[in-house]
C-alpha cells in the first residue's frame, strides 16, 4: 500500500515528527511504501507550506497518488492565527480536505478549541470539519469526549490508539549503566521531570512539592530545553533555576537532548514526575511506560487514562507532595536547609529581574528590536507589484473584462511597467536596508547587554552565583552557591 504521512519529520527536533518517524518505520516493516510531506523543511520527500487556507489543497493534491493518507495534526502547522479571517480560511481548507479525502486518517496530537460564542463562523466550520473527518485517531477517550463537549463534533470514525503503540526504546542500558553515564550515584532516589521547558509543563510544581521530601538521598532533575525563544519560556527557566538554588538536591539541566539521551535520563530515574497544568496526552509518559519507569501525573487532559497501573494520578500540589514523599520512602516533612541566605536571595532577585526586563525589552539575547522587525515584516509581506492581469471571477462578463484589462495593460505597458519595476526594486532594497539595520541594532543591544553584565559582575561578588546548575559530566555535585561560577 502506498501511504503518505503528513507531518514534520526528523532531523527536526519535534515530538510529533519523532512520533511520525516511528509510525513510518512500523508501516514499512509491515510492507507499506511510505513517503512524507512536511510543513517544515526536513528529511521529508515533499515540503509544502500547509497554512493559510491553501495548505490543505496542497495536501489534497499529493493525496491523490496514495492509497492512504495519515495526517499528524497539530494546530500550529495548519493555522497561522488562532482567530480572524486567516483562521477561518484555514478551517475552510481543513473542511475541504477532511470532507474530500476518503482515505484520510487524522492523528490528533493537540486541538485548539475556539472559545466564546458558539455561533461564530469559525466555531461552525471547525465543527463541520471534524465531524466530516473520515477517521480520527485519539490517544485517550477523554480527548474524544472533550471534542464532543467543546466543539459538538464527533468524527465519522474514532479510533483510540495507545500513544506508545509505535514507540521503540533508544537505549539498551539498565539503571546503573545509565546513571554511570550521567554521573548519578546509585544510592540516590531520582525524580525526573523532563521535556521542553514551558510554563504549562508545571515543572515548578515538582520543585515545590519536592521540598517536602525529607530524604537527603532524594534528587530531582529537571531536564530539557526551551523550544521557542519567547520571554515567557526564558523567564520560566530563570524561575526554575532560582527555585533550584534553594535546595541542593534539585538540578535544572538545560540541554537539547538526543533521543538516546532522553531515554537514558528516564532509565536512570526512579520516578518520572509530570506535573502538567494542561496537556491532552504525553509522549514522555509513554516513553516512561515503554522503559519501565513509574510516573506521577496530574489529572489533566487524558493523562489519568493514559497512565499505567503503577502510575499515580494527583489532583493538587499537596497530593503531589505526598506522592513524591511516599515514593521516596517517607512522609512529607522538612527538606534539608536551603543554601542561600537573605542577602544572596535579594541579589538573585535583582539580577533575575534585570534579566527579565532586558528580555522583555528585546535587549536580551541580542533580539531584534520589535519596532524594526515589525516594519520589516510588513514590508516583506507586501507582494511585489503585479505586472500580469488577474482573470476576473465574474461568471458572465468575466472573460470580456479580463480581455479589456489585458488590452489596457499592453497599451499602457511602455509607460507603467518601468515605474512598477522601480517600485518593486525600491521595496526590495528598503527591506534589505532595514534588515541590515535590524541586525546592527540587535548587535549593539547585545554589546550593551554584555557591557552591563560585565559592569554588574565587577560590582557585585554574589553575581557569581549565576547558573549554579550548569551540567557537567561526572558525578553531579552541587557546590555552595557562593562558591559557584
Amino acid at each position: 500500500m502506498r501511504v503518505l504521512m503528513v507531518s514534520p519529520f526528523p532531523p527536526l527536533r519535534d515530538g510529533v515528527g519523532k512520533y511520525a518517524a516511528q509510525e513510518v518505520a512500523a508501516l514499512r516493516a509491515a510492507g507499506d511504501e511510505v513517503e512524507v510531506l512536511s510543513p517544515l523543511p526536513c528529511a521529508a520527500h515533499y515540503v509544502e507550506d500547509l497554512k493559510h487556507g491553501l495548505g490543505p489543497f496542497r495536501v489534497r493534491r499529493h493525496a491523490r497518488r496514495y492509497d492512504r493518507v495519515i495526517l499528524q495534526y497539530q494546530p500550529s502547522h495548519y493555522h497561522a492565527h488562532r482567530r480572524g479571517i486567516s483562521r477561518l480560511l484555514s478551517d475552510l481548507g481543513l473542511l475541504m480536505l477532511f470532507r474530500t479525502t476518503k482515505n484520510l486518517t487524522v492523528v490528533c496530537h493537540e486541538i485548539e478549541y475556539p472559545s466564546g460564542w458558539r455561533g461564530r463562523p469559525d466555531f461552525f466550520i471547525e465543527r463541520m470539519a471534524w465531524s466530516r473527518a473520515p477517521e480520527v485517531v485519539f490517544h485517550t477517550q477523554r480527548e474524544v469526549e472533550a471534542m464532543e463537549q467543546m466543539l459538538g463534533a464527533r468524527p465519522k470514525r474514532v479510533v483510540i490508539r495507545a500513544h506508545g503503540e509505535y514507540l521503540r526504546p533508544h537505549v539498551n542500558e539498565d539503571r546503573s549503566q545509565a546513571r554511570r553515564r550521567l554521573g548519578i550515584s546509585d544510592e540516590d532516589f531520582v525524580f525526573l521531570s523532563i521535556g521542553f521547558i514551558q510554563p504549562h509543563k508545571g515543572f515548578d510544581r515538582a520543585v515545590r512539592a519536592f521540598a517536602s521530601v525529607p530524604s537527603e538521598h532524594a534528587r530531582l532533575f529537571v531536564v530539557g530545553s526551551i523550544r521557542t525563544e519567547v520571554p515567557e519560556n526564558s523567564e520560566y527557566l530563570l524561575r526554575l533555576r532560582r527555585m533550584a538554588r534553594a535546595d541542593p538536591r534539585v538540578f535544572v539541566i538545560e540541554a537539547a537532548l538526543s533521543d538516546e539521551e532522553f531515554d537514558r535520563w528516564i532509565v536512570a530515574s526512579d520516578l518520572v514526575v509530570l506535573p502538567y497544568r494542561e496537556i491532552w496526552s504525553s509522549g514522555v509518559l509513554e516513553r516512561a511506560k515503554l522503559l519501565g519507569r513509574r510516573a506521577i501525573v496530574t489529572n489533566v487532559g487524558g493523562l489519568a487514562e493514559q497512565g499505567g497501573p503503577g502510575d499515580r494520578v494527583v489532583g493538587t500540589d499537596e497530593e503531589l507532595a505526598v506522592a513524591m514523599a511516599e515514593a521516596a520512602g517517607g512522609r512529607p516533612g522538612s527538606a534539608p536547609p536551603g543554601i542561600i541566605d537573605v542577602n544572596q536571595a535579594r541579589s538573585l532577585m535583582r539580577k533575575d529581574a534585570e534579566r527579565i526586563r532586558l528580555g522583555r525589552s528585546g535587549l536580551d539575547q541580542g533580539a531584534d528590536p520589535p519596532e524594526l522587525t515589525s516594519a520589516l515584516r510588513r514590508l516583506r509581506g507586501l507582494s511585489r507589484v503585479q505586472t500580469t492581469v488577474t482573470p476576473s471571477p465574474r461568471p458572465a462578463i468575466g472573460p470580456l473584462l479580463t480581455l479589456v484589462k489585458r488590452f489596457l495593460r499592453r497599451a499602457l505597458g511602455w509607460y507603467v511597467e518601468p515605474a512598477m519595476m522601480q517600485i518593486s526594486e525600491f521595496q526590495g532594497y528598503t527591506a534589505e536596508a532595514l534588515e541590515s539595520l535590524t541586525a546592527e541594532v540587535a548587535q549593539l543591544r547585545a554589546d550593551l547587554r554584555r557591557a552591563q553584565g560585565r559592569a554588574e559582575e565587577s560590582g557585585n561578588e554574589v553575581e557569581s552565583t549565576d547558573d549554579p546548575q550548569t551540567y557537567e559530566r561526572g558525578p553531579i555535585e552541587k557546590a555552595d552557591a557562593g562558591e559557584e561560577s
Binding site: 514499512r28 523543511p41 520527500h45 526551551i226 538526543s258 538516546e260 539521551e261 540587535a442 547585545a446 559530566r473
Partner: protein, 401 residues
Amino acid sequence: MSWSAPGALAFVCPRYGVEVLGGAETVVRQMAERLTSAGYPVEVLTTCALDHYTWANHFPPGEAEVNGVTVRRFPVQHGKGHHRKAIGDRITAGLPTSFSDQELWLNDGFRSAQLFHFLMDHHDRYHTIVPTPYMFWTTYAAANAAPQKTVLRPCLHDESFARLDIYRAMFRSVRGVVFNSQPEADLAHRLYELPQRSEVVGEGMEIPSRYDPGRFRRSYGIDGPFVIYAGRREWGKNVDVLVEYFGRFAAGGGTNLRLVLTGRGQVHIPPAYQRRVIDLGYVSEEDKNDALAAAVATCQPSMWESFSRLLMDSWLASTPVLGFGGCAVTAYHIDQSGGGLAYFDDAEFEVGLEILADSPALAARMGRSGREYVLAHHTWDQVIERFVKCIEVWAVEAVEG
C-alpha cells in the same frame, strides 16, 4: 580481510566521485578505495550532486561502482533558501540564534530525504556509519538516523557555525569522533561535550613517485622564482588577503618573486598586482605537484583548516611553507615539523618571504624536515591502521554494550 563486527562500514558525504574536488571529499574517496582494496566491506552513501555551489543533481541516483567502491547516490532536494541566507548571515555575524532557527537554517539548504530514509530503514546493514564533514545536512541527518552507529569525522574549523547548539547535541550523542589533527581535537574538546571515544587519526597522503619542476615551467611558461598557493579560492581561505600582502611586498621592490595561484574559484587580483600574480586556475594533480616542487615556498593563508593537505603536499615536494599562524592547525604542523614559518600579519609575511627567498639552504632544510614529518605521520598505511583500529574497537564495544 573483513571487519570484526558484522556488516559494512558506510561513509556518508555530501558529494563523492573522482570528479569531485575538495579536501574532505578526496580523503573519503581515497580512504574508501584503500579499505575496499584491503578487503574491508565499505559503502559510500552520498547525493547526486557534483557542484557544492548549486547542489544540482548531476549523477544518476542509485547504486554505482567507483574505483571498486560501492556508491549509493540519492537525489538532492532544495530548500527555498530565504531562511538559510537570513539566518546564516546572523550566525556568521556571531548573533545569537535559537535552536529552531538553527534547524531551519540547516534544513533550508540542500537535503536528501531519500538518503535519510535509506539510513532509517537499512542502518542494520552497517556496523559503523562515518559522516563527514560536520556542517553538512547529510552529516546531521545521518547522525540523527543512527547516532549510536555514528563515528563523526568532523573536519572541524574554529568558525561561528561550529558553535551552534544543533552541533553540540550531535557531537554529544554519537558513538565516537575521529579527528584529522590534534588542534582540531583540542578545539572540539573546547566547544563540545564529546563522547568517551575520540581519537586523532589524521589524513593520509598519496606520495608522488616523482616531481618534474622543469616540465611545469615549460608547460606554463613560468621562469624565475615564485611562491605558490594551490587550492580553492573561497571565503575563509583568505586568498584575497594573500594577494594583497604579496602585492604590497612586491611593490616595495628589491625582489623578482612572483605569486602563482592554482585552483578553482574566483580571486580578485588588483590591476596594480597583475604583473606579479599569475592565476593558472584549475590544474591537474600532477601539474600541481610539479608546481609545488618548482616553488620557493608555499603560502597557506587560510584561517580555518582541520588538516591542510596543501601543507603536506608542499612538504612532500620538499618545499617549505609560509603559513598563517592564526590558524591553529597550520601553526601546529609548522611547529611540529620545522618545515616553515608562521606569520600573523603583513609585516611577518614580508620578512618570512624574504628569509625563504634569500636563504636557499635554510629553505631546503625546512623542506626536508617537512617531508620527513609527513612520511613519519601521514602515510596512508599509518592512517588506515589507526582508523581501522578505532572503528573495530568501538564497534565491538558498542555491540558488547
